[in-house]
């Protein structure tokens, strides 16, 4: 396939919080898209990044690896990662990989922003 299968839009909710709207397939191939979105979202005041998985079509181990890398980078910036919109299946995968312990999982953007 191609990189175009993943698009990520970054939007700044406030000084402290940015949201990445993830659409398509979250695989290793999408690393560039993720990093460029993060570059947009990241400001010196940003303390939380909220990942919107509502339009996630597919997440594989490569995507998980990418998330881990992203998580490490965010942690270095003392930023928290939050997520919402995960299907039951991917929630289970987050639980399985214990990503849910490092990324706060929420049912909705409001919940995530409230926690953020």
């Amino acid at each position: 396939m191609n990189q175009a299968s993943l698009t990520i839009d970054a939007r700044q909710v406030d000084r402290r919080t940015s949201v990445l709207d993830i659409r398509g397939e979250m695989t290793a191939a999408g690393e560039a898209a993720l990093m460029s979105a993060y570059a947009t979202a990241n400001t010196p005041t940003t303390r939380a990044i909220v990942l919107n998985f509502s339009d996630l079509e597919y997440l594989n181990s490569g995507g998980i690896g990418m998330l881990v890398t992203f998580l490490v980078r965010a942690n270095r910036q003392h930023q928290r990662l939050l997520a919402y919109g995960l299907t039951q299946h991917y929630r289970q995968i987050f639980e399985l990989t214990r990503l849910d312990e490092a990324i706060g999982i929420f049912d909705s953007e409001a919940d995530a922003l409230a926690a953020g």
């Binding site: 191939a29 594989n60 490490v72």
Partner: protein
């Protein structure tokens, strides 16, 4: 040389002269109108021996040994004899020829000269030297006696032996006849004394002589004895009125020059023993039979009166008695003479006779040969002797002792049938040249039932003495007795060899059988949902069949059926080797064609020449019924399914023939209720009583009959028994491996069409992201199963991970290499098999990913793939061979055939 030539000429002029005189004598007698009354020709004819035989022998001896006076003396005796007969003839003829009185005068004393010469010759015999200087006296004595007789007889008025003819030199002395008679008788006395002395010197020398000299003297002694005996008989006959017998006395005289000739010429010197023997035997035989004849006639006459004697019947009866008595009497006399006079021959004959009786018990070839050689050694005393045997099978080695079958020596001695002197053979024969070179003197053929069994050859005698006619006759007897025994012993030996060979083979077969059985699996593996049965029935001679079940990763089973060409121990060893190779390589390589390729290369160095292995190797996945197989020249397996019986074809050469062989890998699926049969040619190539073969059509029909597993094997055996009939001896090993997959009906709860079926099977090119394609197709394929959504998603994730691994790692994103995907349901399981071309290296066992470690930078952030798969499906199997590896995802379906609740992972 010139001297010798002159001597020869002179020597041969003497017999020429004698012959001329004899011719003259004949002419005179022939042309004479009449003979003097009372003339008897017989003494004259007997006397012819003198001028004819003596000078010839004399010339032969003098020609060779001019210094030997014996030759010249014999020549002189011949000439004297010639003059004597010529003069006698002149005296006999009427009317009187001129000079008859002179002829008569010569005849009156010449015989004394001949006699004196003979006496001297005896003294000089055989080497021309007197026994010692003292013997000169005897020579002088003889000369004096001859001179005395010449004077006495030559000057007497009345001529001796010619009554009525006046001595032309006769003179009358004052004392009347008395002085003549005094000289005459004393001279005769001296002459005989000299001759007796000569004869006694001969006898003395004979008793002391050894070897050749003895033989020479023996000849002369024999001739002298013959002459004496005949002389006595002649005289007796003469006085009995049978005057014509005088001729025999003359012939007896002939014996002297013949004997001297042989003795000095050394030709057939040693046959004297046989001659004496025969003369004694036949002489005594004549006497005995004559006595028999006379006794019969006399007895008949006494019993039946005088008339009978005139009846020709009496003579006939007497002749008959003599004839009947001839053979037994001759045998007894022969034995008696041999015992008394020829101890050596007698002993040899006894030895050979004893050997003949022992022969019947000698059936061991080696013992027989050594006994035979011992007997030859004892009786003949050769320096060497050897028996060359002709092998029983002429094609094995043509002649005895490696002699070429067409060598003329063989046909030559076979044809002669008797012992032959090597020197007497004139054949263009390599074997003969070899025998000569080896110093063989005598070749004795052993002929049994007209067939040449062997050749006995003897070197020269230890004493140097040649082999006599007697020896040859004894050896001939020995050979004719030994030949059938030797042939019999050869046959016995061959039989013993065959028995030993059979025992050896039996033992080898037994060991081979043990080896073979050791490598056969004790029982087929127990596979749920399958019924496996196997049969191995060895032929009497162990063949090289084998079968095996090898457990492989992922619950798969390797099934081997093979056949080693050849039989016995070599086949068993190759079978064991093949077994070992397959056992070692199958779990590692898995793919059947890879396993056979490897086995072929490994076996090449291990098999014996002209030996190879046919082998069918199949890998069964019991869960799916998927069968991959490869064939190294073995019989094609049969698969019976709904559509009927199909042969499973895959091409490949037998193992162990050629290096670098490639084998085709083929696939098939054994569906529920299907039967698979693997077998060896011992079944299909079994022959019926009419030589018809069991054959493939029959087997196909039987496989199609619906029986499976053990039932199919029993059925096949029953049909085979019916086909071959009773008393059939199994020709080759029979191996049968039958597999039946339990029919679908046994999976009672499974919805029809869902279980045990390939849901989909496809390939995807190895391009990044194509795992989505794979997921979609798998998900679509399993949709009829009605999996719950979460299970479906889990499956999707797992399949996606497997496919991604296959594309990225297995096939290295090479779009040329496809990822093969197969989705199967089987016995309550959903199987997804994803195969790539990344074989030949093991799949690394990934470390269990630990997020904390990853976040701390202690682990790569990646490496979640297998972890995900393991947690998404119920079972994960991975297998690999040299080319591929396969990941198999298993998801248990619940009792209703759909995916149940997922396992909670700890």
């Amino acid at each position: 040389m010139a001297r010798l030539l002159r001597a020869k000429t002179l020597a041969w002029s003497l017999p020429a002269l004698s012959l001329a005189l004899v011719v003259v004598t004949m002419l005179v007698l022939w042309l004479a109108p009449a003979w003097r009354p009372g003339t008897q020709l017989a003494p004259l004819l007997g006397y012819l021996a003198l001028p004819l035989a003596f000078p010839v022998v004399g010339a032969l001896v003098a020609g060779r040994e001019p210094a030997n006076p014996v030759g010249w003396l014999f020549g002189a005796i011949g000439v004297v004899g010639g003059v004597q007969v010529a003069a006698s003839a002149v005296v006999l003829v009427e009317p009187a020829l001129p000079g008859r009185d002179w002829a008569a005068w010569l005849t009156s004393w010449l015989d004394a000269v001949a006699l004196g010469g003979l006496g001297a010759a005896l003294l000089y015999f055989p080497d021309g030297r007197l026994p010692s200087r003292r013997w000169w006296a005897v020579v002088w004595l003889l000369a004096l006696a001859v001179a005395g007789l010449l004077v006495a007889v030559g000057s007497q008025r009345e001529l001796v032996g010619s009554a009525g003819i006046a001595n032309p030199l006769g003179i009358s002395l004052p004392g009347g006849r008395r002085p003549y008679e005094a000289v005459y008788y004393s001279s005769w006395l001296l002459l005989w004394a000299g001759i007796i002395a000569a004869v006694s010197s001969l006898l003395t020398r004979f008793s002391r002589a050894r070897g050749e000299r003895r033989q020479q003297l023996k000849w002369l002694a024999f001739a002298a004895t013959l002459l004496g005996t005949l002389g006595v008989l002649t005289i007796v006959a003469y006085y009995l009125g049978v005057r014509s017998l005088v001729v025999f006395a003359g012939l007896g005289l002939l014996a002297i020059p013949v004997a001297v000739g042989i003795a000095i010429g050394r030709h057939r010197l040693y046959d004297i023993d046989v001659l004496i023997n025969r003369t004694l035997v036949y002489g005594l035989l004549t006497v005995v039979l004559g006595a028999c004849y006379a006794a019969t006639v006399l007895l008949l006459g006494a019993g039946l009166g005088e008339q009978v004697l005139k009846d020709p019947g009496a003579a006939s009866a007497a002749t008959l008695v003599a004839a009947i008595a001839f053979r037994p009497v001759r045998r007894r006399i022969q034995a008696g003479v041999d015992r008394r006079f020829n101890r050596r021959k007698y002993d040899a004959a006894r030895t050979i006779e004893a050997f003949g009786t022992r022969l019947r018990r000698l059936v061991d070839l080696d013992a027989l040969i050594s006994e035979l050689e011992a007997v030859v050694d004892e009786t003949m005393q050769p320096t060497s002797s050897s028996l060359l045997l002709r092998p029983l099978e002429p094609e094995a080695a043509p002649g005895p002792g490696g002699i070429a079958g067409d060598d003329l020596l063989l046909s030559g001695v076979h044809w002669s049938g008797r012992p032959v002197e090597v020197d007497a053979l004139q054949l263009d024969s390599a074997a003969l040249r070899e025998l000569r070179a080896a110093g063989a003197r005598l070749v004795v053929p052993l002929i049994g039932q007209g067939e040449l069994v062997g050749l006995l050859h003897l070197g020269p005698r230890r004493g140097g003495r040649p082999y006599s006619a007697d020896d040859r006759a004894l050896l001939g007897d020995l050979a004719s007795q030994a030949a059938p025994a030797v042939r019999l012993a050869q046959l016995v030996r061959r039989q013993q060899d065959e028995v030993r060979e059979r025992e050896r083979i039996d033992h080898e077969l037994h060991v081979a059988q043990l080896i073979q059985q050791r490598f056969l699996p004790p029982a087929p593996p127990d596979l749920p949902g399958w019924h496996l049965a196997a049969l191995y029935r060895p032929a009497q001679a162990v063949g090289g069949d084998f079968y095996d079940f090898i457990s492989l990763p992922g619950g798969r089973v390797g099934i081997v059926v093979g056949d080693v060409t050849d039989k016995g121990m070599p086949a068993a060893l190759v079978m064991a080797t093949t077994h070992g190779i397959l056992r070692a390589e199958a779990p590692r390589l898995v793919a059947p064609h890879r396993v056979l390729e490897r086995a072929n290369d490994l076996l090449l160095g291990e098999t014996f020449e002209h030996m190879f292995v046919t082998c069918l190797y199949a890998v069964l996945d019991p869960a799916s019924g998927r069968l991959s197989f490869a064939n190294a020249g073995h019989n094609l397996p049969y698969l019976r399914g709904e559509a009927g019986v199909a042969e499973l074809r895959a091409t490949g050469m037998p193992l162990g023939l050629l290096p670098g062989q490639r084998y085709e890998e083929q696939f098939a699926t054994v569906a529920p209720g299907d039967d698979l049969l693997l077998y060896s040619d011992g079944l299909t190539e079994a022959h019926g009583p009419d030589r018809e073969m069991f054959g493939f059509p029959r087997l196909t029909e039987l496989v199609g009959g619906g029986a499976g597993g053990q039932e199919l094997i029993d059925r096949l055996l029953a049909e085979l028994a019916a086909f071959t009939g009773p008393g059939w001896e199994q020709e080759d090993d029979i191996t049968l491996v039958a597999l039946r997959r339990a029919p679908a009906a046994s999976m009672a709860a499974a919805p029809a069409g869902a279980a045990g079926r390939v849901l989909t099977q496809f390939e995807a090119p190895s391009e990044a992201g194509n795992e989505r394609l794979v997921i979609d197709r798998v998900v679509a394929a399993v949709s009829p199963l009605g999996l719950p959504q979460d299970r479906l998603e889990r499956l999707g994730t797992a399949v996606g991970e497997a496919a991604r691994n296959a594309i990225e790692h297995g096939n290295a994103n090479n779009p040329e290499l496809p990822v093969a995907v197969r989705v199967v349901t089987h016995e309550g399981n959903l199987l997804v098999q994803v195969t790539d071309h990344g074989g030949g290296r093991p799949i690394p066992e990934p470390a269990t990913p630990d997020l904390a470690a990853k976040l701390a930078g202690e682990q790569s952030p990646r490496g979640w793939g297998l972890f995900l798969i393991q947690n998404m499906v119920d079972e994960l199997h991975t297998t690999s061979d040299a080319r591929h590896h396969t990941v198999e995802l298993v998801m248990h379906l619940d009792a209703r055939g759909v995916g149940g609740t997922h396992k909670e992972e700890g």
